[in-house]
């Protein structure tokens, strides 16, 4: 079966392919996650919010592949991932504990042209809602929005268990400005200076800390299945149209 012509799809984009990646930097990001910076000389670039498949190969030929959201989108720049260790995982523990600069692995991508944000595409406000490591593609969107100097209002609501779990904490704080608002929700434990409540989001808090449905924002929600199911249902209760809500889920219920 041949690929459909790009004109039929209405938008050209980089062709996904396998690339050899060299690990340039491994940085401890949180107690359970690392940030991997990969040099991929043949990488065609990717849109903010897209993902890739990462493949590891053992000496006997055994392979393991997993999908990861991409935290970067700068054309020609390194490919940045943030990998949270899954208990009992096979690939994420290796990436979190074993991999080091100079190691080589393979990536296939860029993948996905739906859960992406494109600068200048729309004047409508954008609401991002992240649960835990679901922030990775949303951070890519916020960073791309900042880098493009896009003036459409962007707001990120980011739910984490505790302050030490915040991925890209410094970068997100630095992005704050007239066009980007960051709001954190701490579900278990907040910083000592925190004046707000601690606990799970509820519908009222969601309404109070996101762009109102009347402003017709485009909404991106990423997190665990349970998180995304809950948030997406509440957003619809609050008047957001299903067609305005894009979701990305990872893992089981």
């Amino acid at each position: 079966m041949s690929a459909p012509p790009l004109t039929q799809l209405g938008r050209s984009r980089p062709q996904a392919a396998w690339h050899v990646a060299t690990v340039a930097e491994v940085r401890r990001e949180t107690s359970t996650a690392v940030r991997l910076t990969l040099d991929v000389p043949t990488w065609p670039g990717s849109e903010a919010g897209s993902h890739l498949d990462l493949r590891l190969t053992a000496p006997d030929g055994y392979q393991a592949s997993r999908s990861y959201s991409i935290a970067s989108s700068a054309p020609g720049g390194p490919v940045v991932l943030a990998v949270d260790e899954l208990p009992d995982g096979e690939v994420s523990p290796f990436l979190v504990h074993e991999v080091r600069p100079g190691d080589q692995l393979e990536v296939h991508g860029p993948l996905g042209s739906f859960f992406v944000w494109r600068p200048g595409e729309s004047d409508r406000p954008v609401q991002l809602v992240a649960g835990g490591s679901g922030v990775v593609p949303l951070y890519a969107i916020a960073a791309a929005h900042g880098a493009a100097g896009d003036t459409s209002p962007l707001r990120l609501l980011y739910s984490v268990r505790r302050p030490g779990d915040v991925l890209f904490a410094d970068e997100l704080a630095a992005l704050r400005g007239p066009a980007f608002e960051l709001e954190l929700v701490y579900t278990r434990e907040a910083p000592a200076t925190w004046a707000g409540p601690v606990g799970r989001l509820d519908k009222e808090a969601l309404a109070a800390s996101t762009v109102a449905a009347s402003a017709r924002p485009r909404v991106y929600v990423c997190g665990s299945t349970r998180f995304v199911e809950t948030i997406a249902a509440w957003l619809q209760d609050l008047g957001h149209a299903a067609a305005d809500i894009r979701t990305e889920r990872f893992g089981g219920l």
Binding site: M1, S2, A3, P4, Q8, L9, G10, R13, A16, V20, D53, R55, L56, T57, A58, P59, G61, Y62, Q63, A64, S65, R66, S67, E90, F94, E98, V99, D103, Q104, L105, E106, H108, L111, G112, S113, F114, F115, T225, E229, A232, A233, L235, Q236, A242, A243, I245, R246, T247, E248, R249, F250, G251, G252, L253
Partner: protein, 197 residues
């Protein structure tokens, strides 16, 4: 061609011949959906097959079940690299739905409540290869898994098994559906690793 990643030996040695290349066995059942989950009541549900004359062949919930449900046990393979073996499903064979549909067209666009679409060759839906599934693992299909009814085409990657199925439209030519327009393969054979194009 692939090469070795330093220090990686792999932990899960799945030698199962039923595992397509690049897949990992899962016990749980992940949910992947591009938007909010539609909630469709069986009282409001209907399925339509539209042929090339524009004629709609319609079934409501009771009409679907009256065609006769069957039990099938199949393996399912998600493009995001997980596979579940021996899932118990219950549903209505597409052969029964197509008994009364005359069409010269060779392709089908599956359409879902919520707007999702995916394209399939008609021959991949017939001869006992596909079902409108209403139950999985002994329970009615939950909304997050595509309930009340989803397409079940287990020999293709699972994005082809459209959740919240509401219609099938006959097409003269193959045209990409939702994920196919967004980078996924037009056909999606797990054994050939037809994930992306």
């Amino acid at each position: 061609m692939s090469f070795t990643t330093r220090g990686f030996s792999g932990r899960r040695r799945e030698e199962n011949p039923r595992l397509p290349p690049g897949q990992t066995l899962f016990d749980d059942w992940p949910v992947l959906t591009a938007g909010p989950t539609p909630h469709v009541d069986t009282a409001d549900w209907e399925l339509t097959i539209q042929d090339e004359t524009g004629t709609d062949h319609r079934w409501d919930w009771d009409g679907l079940l009256a065609l006769g449900v069957e039990d099938v046990t199949v393996d399912i393979h998600c493009v995001t690299h997980w596979t579940k073996l021996d899932m118990a499903w219950r549903g209505v064979s597409l052969d029964k739905l197509f008994q009364d549909v005359e069409s010269e067209h060779e392709f089908v666009m599956a359409r879902s409540y919520g707007g999702y679409t995916t394209n399939l060759p008609l021959e991949d839906l017939l001869d006992g290869k596909a079902w409108i599934a209403t139950e999985a693992e002994g329970d009615p299909l939950g909304p997050e898994h595509g309930g009340p009814a989803r397409l079940l085409v287990p020999h293709l990657y699972f994005w082809k098994s459209a959740k919240w199925i509401r219609g099938l439209t006959m097409m003269a030519d193959d045209e990409p559906g939702f994920w196919e327009q967004n980078g996924y393969h037009l056909y999606g054979d797990p054994w050939k690793e037809e994930r992306y194009w």
